[in-house]
């Protein structure tokens, strides 16, 4: 915090003592020092195994998240059963776009948080907005060290009885809205979601699901890093349900009209 005055005053008088007004740093307590000092380290990465869009939609009584189950290794569709949408607790769900390794790293930390909370047994559970805030701080601090977690996250859940949907990206930009999409979804699916929500701002669960499925279909047609195998998560006051391995009907007849495609 402040420069340690003990280093200015005769250091032999009070070596390693606490600075006035500060707490003594007990030896052995974990000090997180990822890098030495303020030397700028540029470790900005390029992501390796990645996930594409996640879609999020608030409906009347809850929130819904959808995304495919592909982990792309560059242009190769390598891992085809990756769960990019996970349950955090009975009121919160997390979905991730971007580097899968970074997502799994954070997932483990969040899972440990939930366990620690369980052990504390004090009645307090992680709420979606709190998770969103925490995630924002973590991502922003990592980007400030030029060592980002290469993801965009969607946090969805029920906050104080009301549906909540928030987004954070790898540079720590955070916001919340009733309809959010990441990756290609932001360009392709979000306009479709916005149009539908304008016509009917309070959708039913079934309408929301139908809308997300139609968006997922368009994404499968148009996003070259998409897979026709999806997860849909629904969060209501009753709890969290995540359906996996959803396959959509597609119609590729239009391909016949593409000149040069045989």
């Amino acid at each position: 915090m402040y420069a340690n005055p003990n280093s200015i005053i005769n250091p032999s008088l009070w070596p390693n003592g606490p600075a006035p007004g500060c707490f003594f740093k007990f030896p052995g307590t974990n000090v997180t020092s990822t890098s030495s000092n303020s030397g700028i380290i540029t470790r900005t990465q390029s992501p390796v195994t990645t996930g594409t869009s996640i879609l999020g939609l608030v409906f009347d009584g809850g929130v819904m998240l959808a995304g495919d189950m592909l982990g792309s290794y560059g242009s190769m569709a390598k891992f085809r059963s990756i769960e990019r949408i996970v349950k955090v607790n009975n009121a919160t769900v997390l979905g991730a776009t971007g580097d899968i390794a970074d997502f799994q790293h954070l997932k483990a930390i969040i899972e440990q948080k939930v366990i620690d909370e369980d052990c504390a047994d004090d009645g307090f559970t992680l709420k979606p907005k709190a998770l969103h805030t925490w995630l924002t701080r973590v991502l922003y601090n990592r980007r400030s060290k030029f060592d980002p977690l290469w993801n965009t996250f969607l946090v969805a859940g029920i906050e104080d009885g009301e549906p909540y949907l928030g987004c954070v990206d790898k540079i720590g930009t955070a916001f919340s809205d009733s309809k959010i999409a990441t990756g290609y979804g932001a360009h392709i699916a979000l306009p479709l979601m916005r149009e539908a929500l304008e016509k009917k701002p309070q959708m039913t669960k079934e309408e929301a699901r139908a809308l997300l499925i139609s968006c997922l279909r368009v994404l499968f047609y148009r996003d070259c890093r998409a897979l026709n195998k999806h997860q849909i998560a629904t969060i209501t006051k009753e709890g969290v349900t995540i359906e996996n391995n959803i396959e959509l009907d597609t119609n590729w007849e239009v391909a016949n009209f593409v000149i040069g495609y045989e």
């Binding site: 007004g21 007990f26 004090d122 009645g123 709420k127 709190a130 805030t133 701080r137």
Partner: protein, 257 residues
């Protein structure tokens, strides 16, 4: 005889005691009284102000009562400089939590966190413990209004009514008799606080400049922490004295001439 074992906090005495911790509590026993009372609609903190010298330039609004965050307030008894370090740290812990999670820290978590630090000072590093006991009054959405007390050993407990500092034992036994659980509202708690403080404080007569009173209440989903203005304290003391006089007149049978 046990002197040899006093010099370091990290050492037990032959009888299995931590003398430094006990000495710290001894120091607190000579400090100005603080008491806290839990009411059904809020919490009252009362503190005896010792620095009443007229030459003091009034820099601080309150000598012993500190707001920690939006939903918690504490009062301290003991070595003031130690107390300043601890209240500063409590405020920092609260803000760190608020920054990380966007919501107020649960009351017990804040108390527990600081108490872990206080305990560390009794076990490692050869440092002396903090000579401060604290009363924490707070609200959170899980447990509502809560009152906690912590001492130099790092131990803490939740209380319905308690007292620290000078004459605290007498005050606690008085509270034990007079505190009505479930039937106490803020105004009852304030009256009870004045009653107990008047018995435990050194001064023969209670005056507003010797007494600090604070309340923590909730209205419209928001916590309100108020250090009572001098005028209000004066009124409460006057009410108390009126009641005392009435009680005295009742118990004394009318004597002739």
């Amino acid at each position: 005889m046990a002197r040899r074992y006093d010099t370091r906090t990290t050492i037990f005495s032959p009888e299995g005691r931590l003398y430094q911790v006990e000495y710290a509590m001894e120091a607190i026993g000579h400090a100005g009284t603080c008491l806290g009372i839990l009411a059904s609609d809020g919490i009252v903190l009362a503190a005896e102000r010792r620095n009443t010298n007229k030459l003091l330039d009034e820099v601080f609004f309150s000598e012993k009562i500190y707001q920690l965050n939006a939903d918690m307030v504490c009062s301290v008894a003991g070595i003031t400089s130690d107390a300043n370090v601890l209240t500063n740290e409590l405020r920092l812990i609260s803000q760190r939590y608020l920054l990380q999670y966007g919501e107020s820290i649960p009351c017990e978590q804040l108390v527990s966190w600081l108490c872990d630090v206080k305990q560390a000072y009794t076990q490692y590093g050869g440092k002396r413990p903090f000579g401060v006991s604290l009363l924490y009054a707070g609200w959170d959405h899980q447990y509502g209004f809560q009152l906690y007390q912590s001492d130099p050993s790092g131990n803490y407990g939740g209380w319905k009514a308690t007292c620290i500092g000078n004459n605290s034992a007498a005050a606690v036994s008085m509270l034990k008799q007079e505190y009505k659980e479930g039937e106490t509202k803020i105004d009852d708690a304030l009256a009870l606080a004045i009653r107990v403080m008047s018995k435990t404080m050194d001064a023969t007569k209670l005056t507003p400049d010797k007494l600090e009173l604070a309340t923590l209440t909730r209205h419209d989903n928001k916590t309100y922490i108020k250090v009572l203005p001098v005028a209000q304290v004066k009124t409460l003391i006057a009410d108390h004295e009126k009641k005392e006089a009435a009680e005295a007149a009742k118990s004394k049978p009318t004597t002739a001439s």
